[in-house]
């Protein structure tokens, strides 16, 4: 097809650009650091576009494959490739990186180069996670992406940032090290670190169960699923705006992506067998965490809990094992990438002006920031799944799938429409409407051109995806169907 290694470019341009930004050094050169960062991010986005335009939606096979030897000793290869499941996440990631660089343009005045570099390097590493087709390569990217986020939370975060950063790191590390054991075990039984070879490997039920739970530990923490979600609210609240955006929009997706790339195809029978467990955990996340979100006094915490609840929808969709569920979950992941990024950016806009995230400190913002209020309204609506926004497409499809799977599961899942609307709109009402509550709010200035730009960009995405989701769903169909065929066929019948 083509010889240009787009995936490698998507991974290494941000990383090398990040190192370049790092080299600009002190804050005296902040201007240069920002410019280089923006150029890198835009360039990084540009090289991902051909991935979509040249993508062949009619095949479920891996595309843009790159295969080189890496570490012969372990039989590890530098093997990249994407299919319909991973394509959009690479694009989403590159897009969000541009937004984060713009969002941090004026807000970050302290160690600018390091801030920008951390995000660029993280973006490259996460592209690597989505594109890796080798177990060790995947793990290396998955794990290495913790380092920049740890630094971002810890250096530019809020007052309790140290606790949040360390908790975030250790929780994720604990999960992923168990996954590492599973990867090594798979290597022992198949003699290869190729993910695709693992898909084909015939494994007995006890082995599948062990592997399934190891992956559940890793990806469940990352998603995060109830009851291992407690690191997320802390991390979100303490992280700077950019950190929250990347965390919600991309980092959480790494876990969910892991389920479709590893758990389902490698341990299909165990996945089927334990699906009720995952579904139960997901429903708890949807309903219980939804209720928890309702009572939050801190806007960021509220959106953090709403993220957990939305990600519960994703895992729910995956484990119902029907096409509607899986596809809906994937769409929900992309949509959540836009919407949660937008919500955190909106909160960031308010926080930059007031230095408070408490809902109680606001009220009547619409009087002083009408344009901002309009954007915030749109994103709030998308967050509660209003039709014609991106939030609706995913949620509705998953609910349809859930009803198909089991009426009661569908009913419980559908409560999210009520709970989501309740916590989001109630927060919106308290922050934006009503009388101007104090003189700080009265002194607020509306969004400037820079803020308008990134909010508008996201608004376009949210609406476009809500109105015309075809480009998103079109590329997934074949891959999703093949995945489900594979899962439902199982591996046990192939056992000797």
């Amino acid at each position: 097809m083509t010889d240009i290694p787009f995936l490698s470019l998507a991974i290494w341009i941000p990383i090398l650009g990040g190192l370049l930004v790092l080299a600009t050094g002190q804050d005296a050169n902040a201007r240069m650091a920002r410019t280089v960062a923006l150029l890198t991010a835009v360039f990084g986005l540009a090289v991902t576009l051909p991935l979509y335009t040249r993508f062949d939606a009619s095949t479920a096979g891996m595309q843009f494959v790159e295969l080189h030897d890496w570490i012969a000793y372990f039989n590890v290869h530098y093997h990249l490739g994407i299919d319909g499941l991973s394509l959009w996440f690479v694009l989403l990631n590159a897009f969000i990186t541009v937004l984060v660089v713009i969002a941090g343009w004026q807000v970050i005045q302290n160690r600018v180069a390091q801030y920008m570099a951390a995000f660029l390097i993280m973006s490259g590493l996460m592209n690597g996670v989505f594109a890796a087709l080798d177990g060790v390569l995947f793990y290396v990217f998955f794990e290495a992406s913790l380092i920049p986020l740890y630094l971002v939370i810890g250096v530019w975060g809020g007052p309790n940032r140290v606790y949040a950063a360390i908790k975030f790191f250790l929780f994720t590390l604990a999960g992923s090290l168990l996954m590492l054991l599973a990867l090594l075990y798979l290597y022992k039984s198949t003699g290869s670190f190729e993910i695709l070879a693992w898909h084909r490997a015939v494994l007995s039920m006890p082995v599948q169960s062990l592997i399934f739970f190891a992956f559940l530990a890793a990806f469940g923490v990352k998603v995060p699923m109830w009851p291992v979600h407690t690191w997320l609210p802390d991390a979100h609240v303490e992280a700077p705006t950019g950190g929250s955006v990347v965390l919600a929009a991309i980092a959480l997706k790494l876990g969910a992506y892991g389920f479709v790339r590893f758990s389902l195809p490698i341990a299909p029978d165990a996945s089927m067998h334990y699906a009720p467990l995952v579904i139960a955990l997901s429903l708890i996340a949807v309903v219980y965490i939804g209720l928890v979100a309702l009572v939050q006094g801190d806007m960021k915490k509220l959106v953090a809990y709403s993220s957990i609840s939305h990600m519960g929808f994703v895992t729910l969709g995956f484990f119902m094992m029907n096409p509607l569920g899986v596809e809906g979950a994937l769409i929900q992941m992309i949509s959540h990438g836009f919407v949660s990024a937008a919500m955190f950016l909106c909160i960031g806009v308010l926080y930059d002006r007031m230095h408070s995230r408490q809902i109680a400190d606001y009220g009547g913002v619409v009087k002083t920031m009408p344009r901002f209020a309009a954007f915030f309204m749109l994103f709030a609506m998308a967050n509660c799944g209003l039709p014609a926004t991106s939030g609706f497409v995913g949620e509705f499809t998953v609910i349809l799938g859930a009803v198909q799977y089991n009426f009661w599961v569908g009913l419980l899942a559908a409560t999210t429409l009520i709970l989501g609307a309740a916590y989001t709109l109630w927060m919106y009402k308290r922050v934006v409407f009503g009388a101007v509550s104090n003189e700080n709010v009265a002194k607020l200035t509306d969004i400037d051109a820079r803020e308008f730009f990134f909010l508008a960009l996201l608004a376009v995405c949210v609406l476009a995806m809500g109105v015309y989701p075809f480009p998103f769903t079109d590329v997934m169909h074949v891959s999703v169907n093949k995945l489900l065929e594979h899962v439902i066929a199982g591996k046990l019948s192939l056992l000797p």
Binding site: G25, W70, I71, A72, Y73, F74, R111, Q114, V136, Y139, V140, F141, E143, A144, L146, I147, Y150, L151, G154, V155, R161, V162, A165, I166, F169, L170, L173, A174, L177, L178, L180, L181, L184, Y185, Y187, K188
Partner: protein
């Protein structure tokens, strides 16, 4: 009995270093006014030339000489080479520190050379007595080095402690050797191995001896429950000596364990495997838990070293489980790779501690790393590499070391050990993260600029970058470890 002139060629490096040690002693005795600089230069020159000699006498095959007391193989060659480089780096890092405290006496370099010689003899030993000779030569030099700051109570105390406990461990080892001699009637390692596998030896005596040997080896490695000396000695010794202590001797101890247990006692593998399993598990647990509560960076690194050596042993004990030669070689080479990676990391870590110290001030507390990112972003980044590498996070060499060892453990079927190891790694990650936290998240309390000689800065940078580069491209070194061990394992 006729006298045969031994083949000196395989031992050229050892002979050279021994001669140069004497030259250094004489030269510095006569040229007193330039003694300090001369001793340093001579020591570095000697190590460099030795490295070249090793490189040229490197042999894929196996050369035995001196009536089978001595063996020169690829494994020995590679280990000796790394030791030479590690010592060169250690001497370079320590130079300014010692000079600022008027400790850069010629004897320091003399002892360092003798210690290197001891390690090299130990590595090339093919006989229990050669092994012991090398070990004692290394240890005695180290005892003296630890107590080198003779006016400091802590340094002398550490030296005393190390000496008494080390002598005890040597006693244990020697006692074990005598048992082995009693049971097998041989001191030559291949002959011991033959007697052990032959089944003619008295099992009871042999096993009794083996326990003492394992205890002695464990002491030299500094693994639990024979680790008690490590934190005190690490803390008490002058930092450059701690740097030496924590790096090259670990490789020598790996060689000791390999030559003795794999070379001599492969017939009793299931016995020493069980012992090492307990020792390794205890070290990983204890090292990581104890490191959590340390405030002194030298103590913290001592405990972290205990857990790293436990990890290394995990690799060593995973061999021979399935009986397949390639699995066994992979297990041993994972241990060797781990040891080499650890040496690289510990050199950089203590190099950083030396860097932050200056005349009249020792950066001993972890708090001294506070705000390093503000003071010097480059060195903070390097220390970040070291810490994440030690925690086993990719893309750093420490990750691949852990991966290789865990792979060996899983291949051997010890799933519980692997689970224990990763759980403890998560706990261990905390104290490494704390150092990163202090460097990056906190504001500096100390504002003095970081000053060091150019060669120090360059070396430390190369050291730190090597940790990252080997993390991206670990293949060559891993392959080298495997080739080195392949020859020895197949021969044994």
């Amino acid at each position: 009995m006729n006298f045969v002139v031994p083949d000196f060629f395989p031992a050229t490096a050892e002979i050279f270093i021994a001669v140069m040690a004497l030259v250094l002693m004489l030269a510095t005795a006569f040229a007193r006014n330039i003694a300090r600089g001369l001793a340093y230069a001579l020591a570095q020159f000697t190590l460099l030339v030795t490295a070249f000699i090793i490189l040229f006498t490197l042999d894929i095959g196996i050369d035995r000489s001196f009536g089978n007391l001595f063996v020169n193989d690829l494994l020995g060659g590679v280990l000796k080479l790394v030791i030479c480089f590690a010592m060169m780096i250690a001497l370079l890092y320590g130079r300014a520190w010692l000079a600022e405290r008027k400790l850069d006496r010629p004897e320091y370099y003399l002892l360092a050379l003798l210690m290197t010689l001891g390690m090299m003899v130990l590595i090339t030993a093919n006989h229990l007595l050669t092994l012991y000779l090398g070990l004692e030569m290394m240890s005695l030099s180290l005892y003296a080095l630890v107590a080198f700051d003779r006016d400091s109570a802590r340094s002398t105390e550490a030296g005393m402690k190390y000496f008494v406990l080390g002598a005890l461990a040597s006693g244990l080892l020697l006692y074990g050797m005598s048992m082995v001699y009693g049971a097998t009637g041989a001191l030559e390692l291949p002959a011991v191995a033959q007697a052990v596998t032959g089944g003619t030896a008295n099992m009871k005596v042999l096993l009794f001896g083996l326990v003492f040997l394992v205890a002695g080896v464990s002491f030299k490695l500094g693994v639990a429950p024979f680790h008690m000396w490590a934190p005190d000695v690490y803390q008490g010794a002058p930092t450059p000596v701690t740097l030496i202590l924590s790096s090259a001797p670990k490789l020598a101890a790996f060689a000791l364990a390999f030559r003795l247990l794999v070379g001599g006692f492969s017939g009793l593998v299931e016995h020493w495997q069980t012992m090492l399993m307990l020792v390794a598990a205890a070290s990983i647990v204890l090292g990581n838990l104890a490191a959590l509560v340390q405030h002194n960076i030298k103590r913290m690194l001592a405990y972290s070293g205990i857990s790293h050596m436990g990890f290394m042993l995990l690799g060593l004990l995973s061999g021979v489980a399935g009986g397949k030669a390639d699995v066994t070689v992979a297990a041993y080479s994972s241990a060797m790779f781990y040891a080499v990676a650890y040496v690289l990391m510990t050199l950089a870590a203590f190099g950083m501690v030396v860097l932050l110290s200056r005349a009249g001030f020792d950066a001993e507390n972890i708090e001294d790393f506070k705000g390093l990112n503000r003071r010097n972003a480059w060195f903070a980044l390097l220390m970040l590499f070291v810490m994440f590498s030690m925690a086993g996070i990719p893309f750093f060499v420490g990750f691949f070391a852990k991966l290789a060892v865990l792979k060996a453990v899983i291949d051997a079927g010890y799933l519980w050990l692997a689970v224990l190891a990763v759980v403890m790694s998560v706990i261990g990650a905390f104290y490494y993260l704390r150092v990163v936290k202090l460097m990056y998240f906190d504001e500096p309390t100390e504002t003095a600029p970081i000053a060091a000689s150019a060669e120090f800065q360059v070396m430390l940078s190369v050291n730190g970058i090597a940790i990252a580069v080997l993390g991206l491209m670990p293949g060559a070194l891993l392959g080298l470890c495997r080739t080195a061990l392949q020859a020895s394992v197949i021969a044994g």
